[in-house]
């Protein structure tokens, strides 16, 4: 099978591997051989720069002709043609091949079973405007099955697909859910702590190193411990039943399991004690496997001593544990979408399809955003037709309220309960979630004499000329890539310009024009690689230039002269084009973004694009709950990617909207009102805007105090360390709990053998 596509991920993958290698073994010399460095994603170029400058990863632009083994040293010799056309060879101890991705072997089988169409490379066939839709209605595709792609796109598509499916199923939502029932929670407040300790052998994992039975006997002597036993596997089902029995029999109100890590097993045991009627917050764990028996295998005595320390620490903390409250906050089931471009409209329609009300706020008096300037997609679909249909659907949708020519003035509230005030309107829009789809702006070049000569144009102006028939096919056209991208002022790749230029160049070439594309790397990732290949076939000439030696454009009597040094051909090309087309990039709408960022307390990255919660795993979320992100506001991207993101954002938002109430976690910050002095430093450091200052009456005096919104607090505790009178504290990790655990560490040292030794301690000083 022919693989005429780019696998989209290998360039970055190999960079990451090289970087990790360097971190683990800093003396390793790592070299990456490549043809075009396709660092097209958000912040990818910065990553490459860091790999190069901070870690010393070497990048070699080349074509490799041969790899052979040196029979003596068994080293591997690479022969390659360098950038300037010379042959070179180098020896390495290890060669890692950046292999591409291909469709799964079972693709055909799956396609047949579900009766969906595949493309020529056996990936699921989709279209630009329906990137998640297979050829058969009701069947959707997400992730690499519709083509190779990076993690954030995959994750976004997955959320988008869920949203699509949810739209179809919206009428039966929730009809098959059965809620697990728990016994009523036993109130243990004001009781003496009665702790049960279960020490796990974990087969021989713990028991083989730590003297488990001796720990059980010892722990019984600790204050408040009323029961202790050891188990072969504390996580087994029969032990869960045992734990429940013991809780009842010994009236335990705290449970400690000394075994593996709470990161994997805490939920299981919490569930168990919940089934026995105890709050899950009354559980504590001592990690005597991953952080003890496994790491001190050769000093069993010390491992046993450490296990005691860890268990004692757990006991000390356990005594202070409280059944924390989880609050329920009702959810307003309306979404607000900021931005009426393709992303905003798609997000709104998807939410509406799922049965939710949506308000769209658009600053212009027309929907469509940046897409209004575009005529065709890179793959040739008619944009205007699509846009017309889309706008029509939005405007007619009864679930969607449109606020065109509007801007946001003020925002109040939090996830589930936002109030957004538009400029000049008293009545706020009340909504539970919001999606930021404010788009971006086209870069207006200041370089290459743009604006000084009517034949120096940008890509969309070229497209207008093509459409208007101003191009005859006799012209010489030069395109310059990366105008306003990948520079010091705009250090990001605008992602779409290569493909767009390639497509326009092909169209020109087909008309007979002579086209030169001056580029730094051609980043036609994915199936767009076909466009690139096609362009070359059609005679488009691609000339590479370095960042330091950009093309030289001059004008003499309205004539344009372009000089560019080709590193491959090692000659200086001088062209006198009829048109100079600048592939201008995409820039964030910084002022607008900053305004919105402030209103909704969400961050921007240093370039001015919105910064998502996690670049790979939470591509359309913000750290602030209830606020989501889609489209160019996130970073430059193609329309299919924007649509997928829009649907993803809708899908993510719908998770909140589907709930009647939001249940907050118990481990959140809380304020002691009599200690609070209202200095507000806690609110200053809260990224989630969970802390605010309010006026309250305390002992007859009105004063400003901090207030925690349980729906927003994530329980990081950063606020607590700013509080001088310790008024704001964190449930589950309170100052008292932490300092008591510290006492647990040194408890043995602060013990006396008898009253006399205590007396001598006291009299000694």
């Amino acid at each position: 099978i022919k693989r005429g596509y780019c696998s989209s991920v290998c360039c970055m993958y190999s960079t990451k591997e090289a970087l990790i290698t360097k971190e683990h073994a800093p003396d390793t010399e790592t070299s990456i051989f490549y043809m075009d460095m396709r660092a097209y994603g958000k912040d990818f170029d910065k990553y490459i720069k860091r790999a190069e400058s901070e870690y010393g990863v070497r990048y070699v632009r080349s074509r490799i002709s041969e790899v052979e083994e040196d029979l003596k040293t068994h080293n591997l010799k690479i022969k390659y043609e360098t950038d300037d056309g010379k042959l070179a060879s180098e020896e390495f101890e290890m060669i890692v091949l950046s292999v591409g991705l291909e469709a799964p072997k079972s693709a055909k089988e799956i396609a047949e079973k579900f009766n969906i169409q595949l493309n020529s490379y056996n990936f699921a066939k989709t279209s630009t405007f329906e990137p998640l839709q297979t050829s058969r209605p009701g069947i959707f595709v997400g992730g690499a099955f519709s083509g190779p792609k990076d993690v954030p796109e995959t994750v976004a598509q997955a959320s988008g697909v869920a949203a699509e499916a949810s739209s179809i199923l919206s009428e039966v939502r929730g009809s098959l859910v059965t809620e697990k029932e728990y016994p009523p929670e036993i109130d243990v407040s004001g009781e003496a702590p009665r702790i049960g300790v279960f020490v796990c052998h974990c087969g021989i994992n713990i028991g083989g190193v730590v003297d488990v039975p001796s720990i059980v006997e010892w722990v019984k002597t600790l204050p408040s411990v009323v029961y202790a036993e050891d188990n072969m596997y504390t996580c087994s089902q029969d032990t869960q039943n045992k734990i429940k029995e013991v809780i009842e029999k010994y009236k335990l109100n705290r449970v400690i399991v000394a075994s593996c890590t709470p990161r994997t097993h805490e939920p299981l045991f919490q569930e168990t004690i919940k089934e026995a009627g105890l709050s899950r917050y009354l559980f504590e764990m001592a990690n005597i496997r991953d952080q003890d028996s496994w790491v001190h295998m050769h000093s069993k005595d010390l491992a046993t001593e450490k296990a005691k320390d860890l268990v004692r620490m757990a006991v000390y903390k356990s005594r202070l544990l409280e059944a924390l409250k989880e609050y329920s906050v009702p959810v307003n089931k309306r979404a607000l979408v900021i931005g009426g471009g393709v992303s905003g409209m798609n997000a709104a329609l998807t939410l509406s399809g799922m049965g939710y009300n949506v308000s769209i706020v658009e600053k212009d008096n027309e929907l469509g955003g940046n897409f209004r300037k575009i005529r065709k997609t890179t793959t040739g679909e008619d944009v205007r037709n699509y846009l017309k249909t889309l706008i029509n659907r939005v405007e007619k949708d009864p679930n969607i309220d449109l606020f065109k020519n509007n801007e946001i003035e003020k925002v109040e509230g939090y996830v589930g309960n936002y109030k957004t005030y538009l400029k000049g309107k008293d009545e706020p829009i009340e909504h539970g979630v919001m999606i930021i789809a404010t788009g971006a702006t086209e870069y207006i070049p200041t370089e290459y004499h743009y604006g000084e000569n009517e034949n120096i144009i940008v890509q969309h102006e070229l497209e207008d000329k093509l459409e208007n028939g101003e191009i005859t096919g006799k012209e010489t056209v030069v395109m310059i890539q990366c105008v306003g991208s990948r520079s010091d002022e705009h250090p990001w790749c605008s992602r779409v310009c290569c493909s767009r230029a390639v497509r326009n160049a092909t169209e020109l070439a087909e008309k007979g024009s002579q086209v030169f594309v001056l580029y730094r790397d051609i980043r036609t990732y994915g199936f767009r690689e076909e466009l690139y290949e096609n362009a070359r076939k059609k005679g488009v000439i691609f000339v590479r230039y370095d960042e330091d030696t950009p093309p030289d454009v001059s004008m003499v009597n309205d004539k344009i002269f372009v000089k560019v040094g080709d590193p491959i051909l090692k000659i200086i090309l001088e062209i006198e084009p009829d048109y100079l087309v600048l592939s201008n990039g995409i820039t964030p709408s910084i002022k607008e973004n900053e305004g919105i960022a402030k209103l909704y307390k969400v961050p921007l990255n240093e370039d001015g694009f919105f910064l998502e919660a996690h670049v790979k795993l939470r591509p359309v979320d913000f750290a602030t709950e209830g606020v989501f992100l889609a489209g160019l506001a996130h970073s430059p991207k193609f329309v299919d990617e924007s649509i997928a993101q829009a649907k993803a954002a809708a899908g993510r938002a719908a998770i909140i909207l589907a709930k009647d109430n939001i249940i907050t976690a118990g481990t959140i910050a809380n304020v002691n009102l009599s200690k609070c002095i209202g200095c507000g430093l806690c609110a200053d450091v809260c990224l989630y805007s969970a802390v605010s200052l309010v006026e309250k009456k305390i002992f007859g005096k009105v004063k400003k105090v901090a207030e925690v919104n349980p729906a927003l607090c994530k329980g990081c505790g950063t606020c607590t360390a700013t509080c001088r009178p310790n008024a704001i504290d964190l449930y589950g990790f309170s100052n008292q709990e932490i300092t008591d655990v510290v006492s647990g560490i040194i408890a043995e040292r602060r013990k006396v053998d008898d009253l006399n030794s205590a007396e001598s301690l006291v009299r000694g000083f």
Binding site: S674, I698, F699, S743, A747, E748, R750, K751, V752, D754, L755, A758, E759, V762, R763
Partner: protein, 326 residues
């Protein structure tokens, strides 16, 4: 009144206990009397800043308790000015009323207070304004330093038993005159404000708005209370260790907000002014009501030490003036 050569007096006293002399750095064993009023009061000899008084030990569930009494060696406090000697008596009014405070009692029993007539009052002294004198006979023994001799007389049983008084010659009439002359001179050198009936004015002015003005300067630190020779308030706190712990009392100050803060969060003296007012009232009115004595000896240390320039004399003067106008 006896006339005793200096060296011999010291020698005799040293038979009773270790002698601590008034020096610039406090009461030390180094045999050199300073010639100014000590910056710090002698109250630590009867109520140390920190007193651990109860130990407990918890081997299992049962608790073992033990009272802690520090062994007090016998000390001769030599050269105490009368005001400071009076302060120990004033503290005693509180600690000796029923039930007696055994810690004060034991400490006081171990002390022989040898008072010296005050011939170097400081700029902020005002004992005469309270009806006292720098030559008051206070403590167990009173002494008046002359060139080579002390004029001395015992004032208490402990003072009488401390040395063999009969060994020494009686003071002459001239000596007595000298002492009286010195007394008059020193008393005259002190500014006289006459606060002798200030308690009546205080009770009368308790609710007066003037207090806000009077207390404006005060930031409610505890410096005055800790430097006051008659302030005795203490806090009781437990310190816990793994299987033992102790209970101690430490100096406390009525100027601190936490002093009267109740567990519920309610504080009867939450405003800074009320705390200052309570302190002044306690010294010059409540103590008078309870014991017939002011809780102040006019040593002026609180004025010396106050970081914000609060002057109790000014305050009382203002109150007097205000009352006069009424």
């Amino acid at each position: 009144m006896k006339k005793i050569p200096k060296a011999e007096f010291i020698k005799e006293l040293s038979k009773w206990g270790k002698i601590f002399f008034r020096t610039d750095e406090g009461f030390l064993e180094n045999n050199e009397l300073s010639n100014r009023r000590l910056s710090k009061p002698p109250k630590k000899f009867v109520i140390p800043q920190e007193e651990i008084y109860l130990l407990f030990y918890r081997p299992e569930q049962k608790i073992v308790q033990k009272e802690i009494f520090r062994k007090e060696e016998k000390k001769v406090i030599f050269g105490l000015y009368p005001c400071d000697a009076k302060s120990i008596e004033l503290i005693g009014l509180n600690f000796l009323k029923d039930p007696k405070d055994p810690y004060y009692v034991k400490r006081r029993e171990s002390l022989l207070l040898v008072t010296e007539a005050c011939t170097y009052p400081s700029t902020h002294c005002f004992c005469t304004s309270l009806g006292d004198s720098p030559f008051d006979r206070r403590g167990d023994i009173f002494a008046f330093g002359m060139k080579d001799y002390y004029l001395a007389e015992p004032l208490s049983d402990r003072g009488r038993e401390a040395i063999l008084w009969d060994k020494f010659a009686n003071a002459t009439e001239d000596d007595g005159k000298l002492l009286e002359k010195a007394k008059k001179e020193i008393e005259k050198s002190l500014e006289q404000f006459d606060f002798k009936n200030i308690h009546k004015i205080l009770y009368q002015k308790y609710k007066d708005k003037i207090w806000d003005e009077l207390a404006f300067k005060c930031v409610n630190c505890g410096a005055c209370t800790f430097y006051c020779p008659t302030c005795y308030c203490f806090d009781v706190q437990d310190v816990e260790r793994t299987n033992w712990g102790y209970r101690e009392r430490v100096w406390d100050s009525c100027m601190f907000i936490i002093y009267s803060l109740e567990t519920s969060g309610h504080n009867p003296r939450s405003a800074k002014m009320t705390r200052l007012r309570n302190r002044v009232m306690h010294k010059f009115a409540y103590y008078q009501t309870s014991y017939g004595e002011y809780g102040c000896v006019g040593c002026g240390r609180c004025i010396d030490i106050c970081p914000v320039g609060f002057d109790i004399r000014e305050t009382l003067k203002t109150l007097k003036l205000e009352a006069g106008h009424d």
